[in-house]
Symmetry: D2
Subunit: 318 residues, 4 copies
Amino acid sequence: MHLDTCHVKTVVDAKQDRLNAARKMYPSLVTSQNVTDALSDPEIDAVVIATPVLTHYELAHAALLNGKHVLLEKPMTSSTAEAEKLMNSAREKSKVLMVDHTFLYTGAVRKIKDAIAGGEIGRLQYFDSTRINLGLFQPDINVVWDLAPHDLSILFHLTDERPESISANGISHTNNGVENLAYLTLNFEKDIIAHFTCSWTSPVKVRQTLIGGSQKMIVYDDIEPTEKVKIYDTSYGVTKVMSEEERYSILMDFRVGDINAPKIDQTEALRGVAIDFISAIVDGQTPVSDYQSGYDVVKVLEAAQQSIKQRGKEVMLT
Amino acid sequence: MHLDTCHVKTVVDAKQDRLNAARKMYPSLVTSQNVTDALSDPEIDAVVIATPVLTHYELAHAALLNGKHVLLEKPMTSSTAEAEKLMNSAREKSKVLMVDHTFLYTGAVRKIKDAIAGGEIGRLQYFDSTRINLGLFQPDINVVWDLAPHDLSILFHLTDERPESISANGISHTNNGVENLAYLTLNFEKDIIAHFTCSWTSPVKVRQTLIGGSQKMIVYDDIEPTEKVKIYDTSYGVTKVMSEEERYSILMDFRVGDINAPKIDQTEALRGVAIDFISAIVDGQTPVSDYQSGYDVVKVLEAAQQSIKQRGKEVMLT
Amino acid sequence: MHLDTCHVKTVVDAKQDRLNAARKMYPSLVTSQNVTDALSDPEIDAVVIATPVLTHYELAHAALLNGKHVLLEKPMTSSTAEAEKLMNSAREKSKVLMVDHTFLYTGAVRKIKDAIAGGEIGRLQYFDSTRINLGLFQPDINVVWDLAPHDLSILFHLTDERPESISANGISHTNNGVENLAYLTLNFEKDIIAHFTCSWTSPVKVRQTLIGGSQKMIVYDDIEPTEKVKIYDTSYGVTKVMSEEERYSILMDFRVGDINAPKIDQTEALRGVAIDFISAIVDGQTPVSDYQSGYDVVKVLEAAQQSIKQRGKEVMLT
Amino acid sequence: MHLDTCHVKTVVDAKQDRLNAARKMYPSLVTSQNVTDALSDPEIDAVVIATPVLTHYELAHAALLNGKHVLLEKPMTSSTAEAEKLMNSAREKSKVLMVDHTFLYTGAVRKIKDAIAGGEIGRLQYFDSTRINLGLFQPDINVVWDLAPHDLSILFHLTDERPESISANGISHTNNGVENLAYLTLNFEKDIIAHFTCSWTSPVKVRQTLIGGSQKMIVYDDIEPTEKVKIYDTSYGVTKVMSEEERYSILMDFRVGDINAPKIDQTEALRGVAIDFISAIVDGQTPVSDYQSGYDVVKVLEAAQQSIKQRGKEVMLT
């Protein structure tokens, strides 16, 4: 990533061989195994933290206290308590605190956002996401913390509605108690439902979201190379009140029409993240993936954990 | 369907125009709008009941009391109480009571059953079914009662394990309170999880089940014309116990190998249902889709309803 | 097929068991093993001939001479000479002579026809059809005569242009010299090219046609259940004349935009064929799939045969 | 690409900005706009030439005369005459002359090669390749020279048979006379046929090859992420000689069985090319993609051009 408005000075990593590899590629880089070197460097204005989530709070907090702007890998923190403290520190220090919800910067999600914001889809009725694959077991977090942030951040980007409660179920097939397969359902005050399937143990890779609106429906398939977003001119509704004689004749009115796969901007999402971060620092504008977005996601993850342990019991989010 | 061992004598339907259409096609048929005509006919040995589920109990009970063998459309009844009464009547009258879980007779499900029974797949770890489509709102039952019986009957056919409890969520987007979108999770004593996505309001038609075993995994895609069943030579497991120093290094052992799509017998499933029903009558053998199978399914449907009303609260099944 | 405006009186077949099966289904049918019975029956106004192509001419000619309207299975005849004689007889006897190019009556082809006729696609540039499958070896005709009529009739329905010449290649992998795999290329006066891949020996079933226009392109996939026709807002053209210095810089202007899958009418095509045949008889209107269409197809098939025997040598069609 | 056994010293390009970009990424690179700098450098043992095909002969010839080993981008040269001269120079100078037919080094092609070489597929009967896409018009060569080398090199890698003749057709939709769409058919002495569809003007990207053998068939789909190679346990053959009475009863024996998608090695193909080139230099072994392979491909391309100009007329290759 080369942006004229910023310059990467230092890379910090616990492992020397990774630092060597970085310096081989970019010889002008300063490398260090000690994060304090970077945090105390007055030439450094901003840091990007891409470490295990358990270390996010401590590192980001130290960075903010040292007057650095912070871009955090998702999920933002390992608890809402940590997230709240970081948000307070960012406000006190007037520093940018942003979370890397990369998908919000993809052409596909921006196209879906436009379709919903422009009213074409109608009222949101359901959001059903499947993100499954084989592999990539994370050592310190379960599959929900690993995969659901992507889809939760997309949902919260597409609608201003926030869930009332969550019911979640999951299972660990390994002997370490970390869930590798989980299902989340979010309930809303309005007649919206959101569901998330997360798996590290599927033989096939699926990244598909179905989005139902009162006017149209969307299928977002992130694996599909050219038709990632399809908008279905499809809707349904009850058109006839049942009379006593017609108790078996609810007439649903299904409208099935054309399917449109709009052209998607192919610009690299990570570039959008970097530009948004720098714009937030330079111009003071709120980034698309701001800390509130990071907090909202962590809140659901935390509650999902509680619900899974109680086999689907509803956990309130309000 | 023409089977030499049986003969269809009478068709009963409330609507005269449907009877006319049947008689036009098969002029030798006796038709009637009164079910008693058929139930009191001493020439009739067996009846097939394909009516709304709310009427199943009354009709099947009358048929059994009149000494008829009964093949019931799925789901068997609208409650476990009704199912139990029918089962008792069938036993008392020594009549066959069978439920039409058609999918158990497809080449695809039989192939999967063989792979699991033969040990090729290993221990069952998960079963994740998606059956979604646009349309076909049922007037008297919700989407769970309409669609889940297919997948529940398949699961119970593939394993002898029965679930401990269920957590389910759903939503009605129409003004009649009947769920059109629902999610069911079944928990088992062993480390098995089963999940079912049912929808009448998807813009795309999906009929896919992922089945995870300790040795191999299966993708069963009923829409796929030629490769309905794919067996993935894929498995995972923890191969290394973590030491203190290696807290971030759980090493999962993923085996990813060939994919095999076995040849599937294309014989029509409904023919298998009919043959099994007649064999049960003539030879006294237990049909594949027997009443126990019907009861097990209704039990889950009933509990699903309770869980949905409590937003995912676990409902015990044992 | 039940149409109020006509009635099927007699079925003729060489095999008695097929006649028995037909009468079992439709007891009021007259059946016969002798075609003269039908052709001499004054109550019969029209006949449908679905026999091996080698017998088409003789049967259709007898029918026309007996004053019957004729609907012929495709391909119309086994030679253009035969086709011309039938066309003359039909004109002399003032009888309808129609060929069953069923695909012209499908919702998909009608939608494509509308898009081209309405100017949305621009000038036709290419037509590339693949119709391959496993099986269905015909005893008396090769794969070109069996499969290409479908796609040739579609092409000739979509454009008024007719080809100047053909180059074709094929192979027989069996010991009977009948080609089971063949490729046809049609050349036109204008800058149009049409290509046809026909195979009885493909492990996968493909029925796909790519249609390129100067403004948009179409992919017609007849296997696809819901998105048979996709219209790509895609075109290309040279936008810059090369200067000497820029010999490596032809700048093509590619426009890639939205993809639209229009809703397709699902009405059964065979019903459209029957209605068109009867309308032609009753109202005297020219059917969509008229004898000229049948002749144009046979002309290409005949020339394809000649070209294949000369390994692709161009055979003129004008 | 980092290989311990070699070191990239110099990059030559006509454009200074590309050299600057290369040096920014790899600061230790020597860069030059003058190819003589590299060819006369005694420290340089081998050169990789990735320039427009019209310049291949001149550059490679100069390199060989200067005692450099040469790896040429495909197609090897713009004529067989040029190819022969290069081959002679390489032999005289005892230098490696290799062509970069990258696909021969992919896991997919190696798996197919193994299946054919091991006898699993039986005798090769057909090879049908479709490589179509939108875009990438080449200024100096047509679509055949651009795309067909991939598939021709694969075919010649899979079988030792070489074609007797070619029949080809094509069209240019631009005003520069360069074909953007073309079809090639290769005839063989044995009952093999090979066909190639090449297009720069397809709205969809397809890279699919069907390979028919007397025992099994293969579908190689290079777009498919996980199932690039599928082996169909499918074959056909005539099992009954026709008697006079049975003229309509050729009985084909179709065997349709399992489909197997073997695990494919994911190693980057370009790495295999580099290793093979260096091994040829160091150990003297013949590379997989040797100059004979390059020559065989150019011979077909040259003949294809002649056949296209004569609208499919057979051009001999022996």
